[in-house]
């Protein structure tokens, strides 16, 4: 009676011999106190943070995000007993998340201080630098399972490249994160120097939902409700996939690997089917594309699984995974946020042993060279 929608298991899955450890591609660490970050900022920007704070690309006062669904968009059970916001206590993260779920690696995704939405690009760059240093000092240095990403907002390309170079020299970051909602669609050429550097360095380009680019999050304008805005994460991802694809980024940077994080994956089949069909009609408008859009998706793009789609019938999720391809999917939990996915229960459809290995571990291991 209680576990009415527990996922069924395939016989081969139940009989799997070896333990499968999880690579979680979306773990959110939080700043415990501003002082933790300030130590990595020049005095000038510490003062700025205290005096002026964030100046964001949102049109109205009060549209900044929290709470969303629950305080700090967090699981209600994720508040550390020692105080501070969810995700800010490493020991508690180990105890609640890394250890019980047998996480082999967690890829850190920092959202604090609205990193990518700062209107003052110089201040934004100072925050990005500070947070990149803080990720190592407070997380990766203390917990080898946690891997950091280089945060580099792309709207000042010069700052972004400088920060990428600085962090790449340190050599401990597994990904370069850019803003999903920049001033212009992500395929535009002004951003290409960043893509060129990511390709040269062999680091995947991570695009995690969230932030404000100053534009309405939907094509229809600003939504009234959080539930409405939450849907728009998928629209944003679909728009950016189309932009990157059709402007020719994978064609120009054939070794660039792009990861869409926290956008789910249910929207991918229809987006790529439609692009393929239109490509046949509009080929002469985009002669720089040599292949059908879906072929670029299959080679250059990866997608994290959370928030996973839950159709009424399990077989439809099954079809979705087959359409997108188990090769393209990376498990992510979104810990400690309210829409967290538990790797044991999130997939409401049986997976084959091969699919499990790819989605929960193998794809991420290869992509991030872990």
């Amino acid at each position: 009676m209680s576990d009415v929608i527990d996922r069924p298991m395939l016989a081969e899955e139940a009989a799997a011999q070896s333990r499968l450890r999880i690579i979680d591609c979306d773990v959110h660490p939080s700043i415990h106190a501003h002082a933790d970050i300030e130590q990595f900022m020049p005095k000038r920007w510490q003062q700025h943070l205290r005096t002026y704070g964030s100046h964001l690309r949102t049109p109205y006062i009060g549209t900044t995000p929290y709470p969303r669904s629950s305080p700090l968009i967090a699981r209600r059970d994720a508040w550390p007993p020692t105080g501070g916001p969810p995700g800010s206590d490493l020991d508690f993260m180990r105890k609640q998340h890394l250890d019980p779920l047998d996480i082999e690696y967690g890829i850190l995704q920092v959202l604090d201080l609205f990193i990518f939405s700062q209107q003052n690009l110089e201040f934004g760059a100072a925050i990005q630098r500070a947070i990149n240093d803080w990720q190592l000092a407070f997380w990766s240095d203390r917990e080898p399972r946690l891997k950091a990403s280089i945060l580099a907002g792309q709207d000042d390309t010069e700052f972004a490249i400088a920060e990428i170079e600085r962090c790449a020299k340190i050599g401990r970051y597994v990904q370069i994160n850019v803003c999903p909602r920049a001033n212009e669609p992500l395929g535009r050429r002004r951003y290409w120097p960043i893509y060129a550097r990511a390709q040269e360095l062999g680091l995947p380009l991570g695009i995690h939902v969230g932030g404000y680019g100053g534009h309405a999050p939907t094509g229809g304008g600003w939504p009234s409700y959080y539930v409405e805005e939450h849907q728009s994460n998928a629209h944003t991802m679909a728009a950016q996939l189309a932009s990157l694809m059709l402007e020719g980024v994978p064609e120009r940077f054939p070794n660039l690997r792009i990861v869409f994080i926290e956008g789910g994956f249910g929207w991918i089949p229809s987006a790529t089917w439609r692009m393929d069909r239109h490509f046949e009609a509009f080929r002469s408008e985009v002669p720089h594309l040599k292949r059908r859009p879906s072929e670029y998706v299959k080679q250059h793009f990866w997608f994290t699984t959370q928030p996973i789609d839950e159709p009424d019938e399990a077989k439809h999720l099954r079809s979705l995974i087959e359409w997108v391809g188990a090769d393209r999917l990376l498990f992510s939990s979104d810990y400690p946020h309210w829409d967290f996915d538990d790797p044991r229960y999130a997939f409401k459809t049986p997976l084959t042993e091969t699919e499990r290995r790819k989605i929960f571990n193998g794809n991420a291991r290869a992509l991030y060279k872990l």
């Binding site: 009676m1 209680s2 576990d3 009415v4 929608i5 527990d6 669904s69 629950s70 699981r75 209600r76 059970d77 309210w338 829409d339 967290f340 996915d341 538990d342 044991r344 229960y345 999130a346």
Partner: protein, 137 residues
């Protein structure tokens, strides 16, 4: 049905809850508006601990712009994905036929009554002036 005397009524403050291990299961008992409700401490969706749920009111709207709040504190909002359950019977509001949390009958009896029964001495020291929360599984 086995009766388990799990707590004094005063052990669970109004608006609060407490988890008890009963026959290998974690059962959470809520105290709301003078009543006690017992549920399996696990959301049927992805297994979140319901002891961390928000206890909220039922909010309904017969038409846009008209809102009604009722049964204050009797609805559980799962700590992860916000699914709402009626703590009186474990039913979900969004899909009551398919999705529910296992619920258990709860009784409150005075120590005086309990002392007459067979379940007292081995489980719990009884002070006859108190009342006790009893879960049936």
């Amino acid at each position: 049905m086995t009766r388990h005397i799990v707590a004094r009524t005063s052990d669970i403050p109004p608006g609060g809850n407490k988890v008890f291990g009963v026959e290998g299961r974690d059962i959470v008992v809520f105290h709301v508006n003078g009543e006690f409700f017992a549920l399996l401490n696990r959301c049927p969706h992805e297994g979140a601990p319901l002891e961390k749920a928000a206890c909220v009111a039922r909010l309904t709207s017969p038409e846009p712009g008209v809102y009604q709040r009722s049964r204050v504190g009797e609805l559980l909002r799962c700590p992860w994905h916000g699914w709402e359950f009626d703590m009186r019977n474990g039913q979900s509001w969004f899909d009551p036929k398919r999705v529910k949390v296992r619920s258990y009958p709860v009784a409150v009896e005075s120590g005086e009554e309990l002392q007459k029964g067979p379940y007292v001495a081995e489980t719990f020291p009884v002070h006859v002036e108190d009342s006790y929360v009893i879960i049936e599984t």
